[in-house]
């Protein structure tokens, strides 16, 4: 299992990258009043046939060639099972995939949120042609980050130039901390 929510996001969005997605939407909602944590990752990658969707959360099913074990989705489903939650995987060949969980925020096994800004710049660094929209709602405040907006300001400088990435990391950390501390 992963140590925090940000690590799950990184792992699952990497699945989207392997499925050749060009647009990945990450949505994280924490609502302490209703005591739920929802996370969804949806992409416009190649999608999966129905029979693959059925096997995808089986740890002994994987499409990779290096090993006969694939734990990414299995971990994510286990997290939902463990934390009074639900796991949903929807996919359509040629259209894309959405994976989501809805778990009890105060459950003892619900991991901390973790370092979201590190996860996001790790994803952005991997491929500058992929766009991300990250929406984070914490109680009733919301923060949205869209790589398209950043790219529109960069002219021909790539978004994954290292000093641009570091700037984005600090920008995100500031905004995310502010949101979690309820200052917005």
């Amino acid at each position: 299992m992963m140590q925090d929510i940000a690590m799950y996001i990184l792992d699952l969005a990497n699945n989207s990258l392997y499925a050749n997605a060009r647009n990945i939407n990450i949505c994280l909602i924490v609502d302490r009043q209703v005591d739920r944590l929802q996370l969804s990752i949806s992409d416009d990658g190649q999608g999966m046939e129905d029979f693959i969707v059925e096997q995808a959360t089986d740890p002994f099913y994987t499409t990779r060639k290096t090993r006969k074990i694939g734990l990414g989705l299995a971990f994510f489903k286990a997290l939902a099972d463990q934390c009074d939650g639900e796991f949903t995987l929807k996919s359509k060949k040629g259209v894309g995939t959405t994976v989501m969980i809805d778990i009890r925020n105060s459950h003892i096994d619900t991991p901390p949120i973790g370092d979201l800004s590190s996860t996001l710049i790790t994803l952005i660094q991997a491929d500058d042609l992929v766009d991300y929209r990250f929406t984070y709602r914490y109680d009733h405040q919301e923060f949205e980050f869209d790589t398209r907006k950043i790219k529109s300001m960069l002219d021909d400088v790539k978004i994954n130039e290292l000093n641009i990435l570091l700037w984005i990391k600090e920008f995100l950390s500031e905004r995310i901390n502010e949101l979690q501390e309820g200052k917005r």
Binding site: D11, I121, T122, V157, L166, E174
Partner: protein
């Protein structure tokens, strides 16, 4: 607070830096970023490499890959030189990553103690 106006300034500085770069980089660094790598701590390793590379402006590119195949030795970092020679570093953490950056990428000395060959069977 970081403002978007700052980003425009940084863009112009970066543009100038890109113009000054001469040809290919000396090294290519690859970090394994599959489920096994992520669970073992590959993300902070990649972030440390990015921070150190930016700070010291080493001649290298940084890339990510999937499962390299030795999941128990993650986080894995591979360094390729210009001639295609590969050094595989295993069980890396952010501190070791910075050390590799300074010694191997900065000075050209392989850090033997962290290589896959140094692991006792």
């Amino acid at each position: 607070m970081k403002s978007l106006a700052e980003l425009e300034k940084l863009r112009d500085i970066t543009k100038k830096k890109i113009e000054l770069r001469d040809g290919d980089c000396d090294y290519r660094i690859v970090v394994g970023m599959a489920t096994c790598g992520i669970a073992a701590g590959a993300r902070p390793v990649l972030n440390a490499l990015i921070a150190e590379a930016t700070e010291a402006e080493y001649s290298c590119t940084i890339a990510q890959t999937g499962c390299i195949g030795m999941c128990t030795l993650e986080p894995l970092v591979e360094v390729f030189d210009k001639n295609g020679n590969k050094t595989t570093y295993v069980l890396i953490n952010p501190e070791k990553a910075v050390e590799i950056m300074r010694e191997h990428i900065g000075k050209g000395n392989i850090v033997e103690k962290y290589t896959v060959g140094s692991v006792k069977r």
